[in-house]
Structure formats: structure tokens, C-alpha cells
Symmetry: C2
Subunit: 340 residues, 2 copies
């Protein structure tokens, strides 16, 4: 087991001082051509690499950004991470990922650990539990310490920081408008309970689309799923006694459960009933029928979040720059779960 090479070792070996070695390697003009060559050659030969930890301590920055997401086993979040990584690596940052598992406590702990030097800033999508509890002390604390924070997807309005979101309401509106355009009249909604912000916003888009088209709201066509694990049964029950010609689901899974339920009822998608969902997922492309969706552009979202964060990190002057909220456009992707 080779010991790691340090400046001190090089210095001793070459009989110069540590400072000389450091300067030589950084091409300082203070060092004569001769010794510079000698030191560089030696360093190269023995494959010297500076110790990042020491640099972090010295520079008081780690060149890494911390990402905290509710869960990683979720295609949408992986696309976001992918976008973050791409931009971060381009700019010489690396990325630490932690999952909160939708637990408030784990979110807090992860932030505290990463905030203690490991990370220069955060990109975060808050846990469901945090949204419920409305306890944001860990976020404000980090901000007060001067660490930039960018929130995405599930953001907290009250927190003053950069944000990247999609136009959930508008996206939902687009979806429902599409259903209306193809002639659907009785449009159901499968959403989540309201404390999940996206559920709330998408519900709002649904309502707006109806009202703009002078369609009367029928509350009985709205389902707000509470327990994800029970959603398949809930949805199947919900759909069993309603007359709908379309369903708008706030995510991929709900859409697929809906399609399954319809099939079991002997209904054909899209002939008898159209289904549209919010998602970026793999499933929607591969499912039969493939799903018409409102896409969320996760990778773009991650990329923008990373750009915002790095801008704040590199611009010391930017402290008093106002915070930005970037809205990622959603788009309709027509596939085979809606009739034409």
C-alpha cells in the first residue's frame, strides 16, 4: 500500500521547501525554470494529486453541491439528478445526493450533516412530511449561514430562495383542455390530497379549464388519493360507478391504475374513455396503450437548478441579487391513451 504523495514528501525528497513545491506546481513566476521543471517532473512521475479535503478547508469551499430529494427510486427525480450532474460537472462541481425518504427528520439530519462543510449549497425538493409539518427551520438556518439554496418541484413559497418549478396549473389546464378539445364532456380527476403542492396546483388547473369552457364542476368526479399504497383499490372503486369519458391523472401510476380499472370494466382506452397524465416516466412510453402525457422536463429542471445555484456560488456580489423563480414549460405529448 503506497502512501499518498503530499507536498511535504515531495519537498523532502527534492530538498526544497513546501512552499516552493506548491508554487512550482502552480506555475508561479517566483520559481526558477530549472526547479520548476524538476518538481513538475517528479510530481508527474509519482502521480501527485492534491488533497481535496485540505483544499476545501483552506478555501472554505468544497466545490460540491448537495442534492436532497424525497426518493431516488423514482424516474422523475433521476432525470432531474441527471440534469444537475451534467451542469455541475461541466463547471467543476460534484454532487452529493441524499434521500429524505419523505421523512422530515431525515431531511433535517441530512441537511445538517452536509451543511457542515461538505457542501457549498443545496438543491432540494422537500419531503412530503415537511410540507405537512410546515416546519422550515432547517431551510432558514442554512440560508442564514449564507449557503445558497435552490428548491425545485416541491417548493415552499414562504422560503425566500431561487426556485425551479413547472407550471403545474397551466400544465393541468393544457391536459384538460386537450380532453375537451377531443370532445370529452365528463372528465374525472385523480389527484393527491392538497398538502402536496403539486396535487393542489394541478387540481386548480383542472378546475380552471372546466370553468373556462363553461363546464359545470361535478365534485363526484374528483378523487383525492390519500394513501399511495392503497391507490390501486381506491381508484378502482372510484371509477366503478361513474360515467366518465375521460380521466386526468396527476401522475403515471394513477393513470395506469385507471386504465387497468377501465379494462376490467370492459371499457377500451382510448375508444371509450381517454386518459391523460402528468409524467416523464418510462412507463408511459412503453405501456400499452402508451400514455398521452404532460411532460415535466426533469433533466431541464435539474440543469436550471444547478445553473442557478452555481451562479450564486460564484458571484459573491450576487448576495443582494433578487431571487429567481424559473418556470419550466410543460408540453403535451400525444400518444395512444387519448382518442384523436
Amino acid at each position: 500500500m503506497k502512501k499518498r504523495l503530499t507536498l511535504k514528501l515531495i519537498a523532502k525528497e527534492l530538498d526544497v521547501s513546501v512552499s516552493t513545491v506548491s508554487k512550482a506546481l502552480r506555475d508561479s513566476a517566483e520559481i526558477s525554470e530549472d526547479t520548476r521543471q524538476k518538481i513538475k517532473a517528479f510530481a508527474k512521475l509519482y502521480n501527485y494529486k492534491p488533497n481535496n479535503i485540505a483544499l476545501s478547508l483552506k478555501n472554505r469551499k468544497s466545490k460540491t453541491i448537495g442534492v436532497i430529494i424525497p426518493e431516488i427510486v423514482h424516474h422523475y427525480f433521476t432525470t432531474v439528478i441527471s440534469g444537475i450532474e451534467k451542469v455541475a460537472n461541466e463547471k467543476g462541481y460534484h454532487v452529493i445526493i441524499c434521500t429524505s425518504n419523505n421523512s422530515f427528520d431525515k431531511e433535517v439530519i441530512n441537511m445538517e450533516i452536509l451543511a457542515n462543510g461538505s457542501t457549498d449549497g443545496f438543491i432540494l425538493s422537500v419531503a412530503k412530511e415537511t410540507q405537512q409539518k410546515r416546519d422550515y427551520h432547517h431551510l432558514t438556518e442554512v440560508i442564514e449561514q449564507g449557503m445558497p439554496l435552490v428548491m425545485f418541484d416541491r417548493v415552499i413559497e414562504e422560503i425566500n430562495c431561487d426556485k425551479v418549478i413547472i407550471d403545474d396549473t397551466l400544465g393541468a389546464k393544457k391536459a384538460v383542455q386537450h380532453l375537451i378539445n377531443i370532445g370529452c364532456k365528463n372528465i374525472g380527476l385523480i389527484s393527491t390530497i392538497d398538502y402536496v403542492s403539486v396535487g393542489k396546483l394541478r387540481t386548480q388547473g383542472y378546475l380552471e379549464a372546466l370553468s373556462e369552457n363553461n363546464i359545470e364542476l361535478n365534485e363526484s368526479l374528483i378523487l383525492k388519493v390519500d394513501d399511495f399504497d392503497q391507490s390501486e383499490i381506491e381508484i378502482s372503486k372510484f371509477l366503478s360507478d361513474k360515467a366518465m369519458d375521460a380521466v386526468f391523472a396527476v401522475n403515471e401510476h394513477f393513470a395506469i391504475y385507471a386504465i387497468k380499472a377501465f379494462k376490467e370494466q370492459g371499457l377500451d382506452v382510448p375508444k371509450d374513455v381517454s386518459v391523460i397524465a402528468f409524467t416523464d416516466g418510462e412507463l408511459s412510453k412503453r405501456f400499452i396503450p402508451s400514455l398521452t402525457t404532460i411532460n415535466q422536463h426533469g433533466e431541464e429542471m435539474g440543469a436550471q437548478a444547478a445553473r442557478l445555484l452555481i451562479r450564486k456560488l460564484e458571484n459573491d456580489e450576487s448576495e443582494d441579487e433578487p431571487f429567481e423563480t424559473i418556470i419550466i414549460e410543460t408540453g403535451l405529448v400525444e400518444r395512444n391513451s387519448t382518442k384523436r
Copy 2:
């Protein structure tokens, strides 16, 4: 913007020395009850948290483990990460994730960066390009520096380190044996080219199962997909002129393309033809028909890898302990793409 609290600041504020503060906070018996209380109260009041970077430098360990995977937008890898994270966090480690994007160069760069102090050890699944190139200098270098390395899934046999793999060959055999048991005779194989080790091993399992059941090998029933992006077309072409009553696919995607192709030919799965695949994915559960699979227990795999790594990290004496290869058992999950 509050400055971060350090030992030095506390010391100045309370008019004691840095060492006293450090000792007090760590409950050293050297410090009198009085001052200890005072210091602890102060630290708590102003929410002192030690700087991890300084600790890393001092202790020459970072308490973080680096994970390098070929791609993150892949359900299997996220389950593995999930398992790694769970175990790592339990033991007080955190996890840095980098993706190689299946590029050799990016794999090398990521390892070099993380190896310079950021990380105590590695968990790695090698990039496709690395398997092709057979250039493993970055792996041996890291090992020579005394950093433990655990490889999983796509492992390199020649490298001497801990490994976690699944019994690809046996798993494939199980799959094919199941097809034989339900009465299939003409069993096709959709695999990848051989330099991807899993493709090779699973192919071998296929061959073994056939030979053990005295079924003659028909080379024309084997497809080795080269270009992933073209796989849908390749598979559809491949299946168009063969008479099979079953297909074993080495991954989820190939299986689904096969099912689609069969449907287009007017064949029913599972009535006319059975399909079985290797995978842990979401798709297989939700697809219609849902897929009979050989599962890979990704989370278990990650957990074991993390355990192996941490064992090496915490046991200085373990240096000469022999390396282990843990084999994760695969299991057959019967669903609706195979007849009963």
C-alpha cells in the same frame, strides 16, 4: 449572514483556550464540571456544529463512500443506491454518487477526483466502455493506495477486491427451466453482445438449461442486440420469421419489445408464446400483461456492497483478510407473461 461558529470563536467569547473548548465538548475528564457546563450551554445556545472538512483532514477519513454507476436513470441502479444509502447512513457514512454515463473517461475522472480525500472507499459498477477497453488502471491504482473497492453487478474478474453479484447464469437457467417446465420447446433468447458480462453469463445459463434438458441448440433463435437504440427494430425483425413458443430476454426492455412484436404479429402473450425477463423494474409489474421475471434484488445488493465496504473501512486489521464475493440469490416471480 451569520458566520459559522468555530471552536476558536467560542474560546474567545468564553475566555478560555481552544483546547479547553474541544475537550469540554467531548466530555473530557480533564475539564472541571463548571467550565464544561458553561461551554456546552454556550455551544448549544448558538448551535455549534463541528466542521466536517476539518475533521476529515485531521482524521484522514471522510466517512463518505463514493458510488460510481453507469447511469442513474435506470430503476435497477436506483434500487441498489437505495440499499447502499440505507446501510451507509445507519453506520454514519454518507454517499457521493457519480455517474460514468458508460464512458470510460468519465469513470476514470470521477474516481480520481473522489479518491483525493473526498471518499474513503468505492462501490462501483463499471462502464460498458471499460469492459470493452479492458483498461483497469484506475481501479488498481485506487486499490494500491489502500482504498477499499467493492464492485457490483458488472464486475471485473481480474480485479482483486470484494464483489457482489447475482448468479446470472443460475438465474438464467431458472428462467429457461421454468419455460421448459410449462411445456415450451422452442425457446428464443434475446441477449446483448458478449462483452457485457451479464449478457454473456445469462446466455450461458440459457445454454446450460437447454443442454441439461436435452434440447438441441438452435442458433437461429438467439439474438444478440448490439445497439440499444435500435433494439426495438432489431427485435421485431428477429421475431418476425421464427417459430417460437417462448422467449427469454436478458432485460425488461427487450421483453417488452418482444411482447409488442408478438402482438403485432397477432400472437397472444402468454397464450401463444411465453415471455420471461431478468429485471427488478417497475415496468414489469405494471405492464399488461405483467411480466414473469427473474428478480435481481437490487436493494439487497446495495446493502451487501455497503456492508462489505464498511467492514473493510472499519477493520484496519482486515487488510490481509481475503476478498469475498457475495452472490445474491435470484428468484422467479411468476406473473402473467407466461402461461401456467
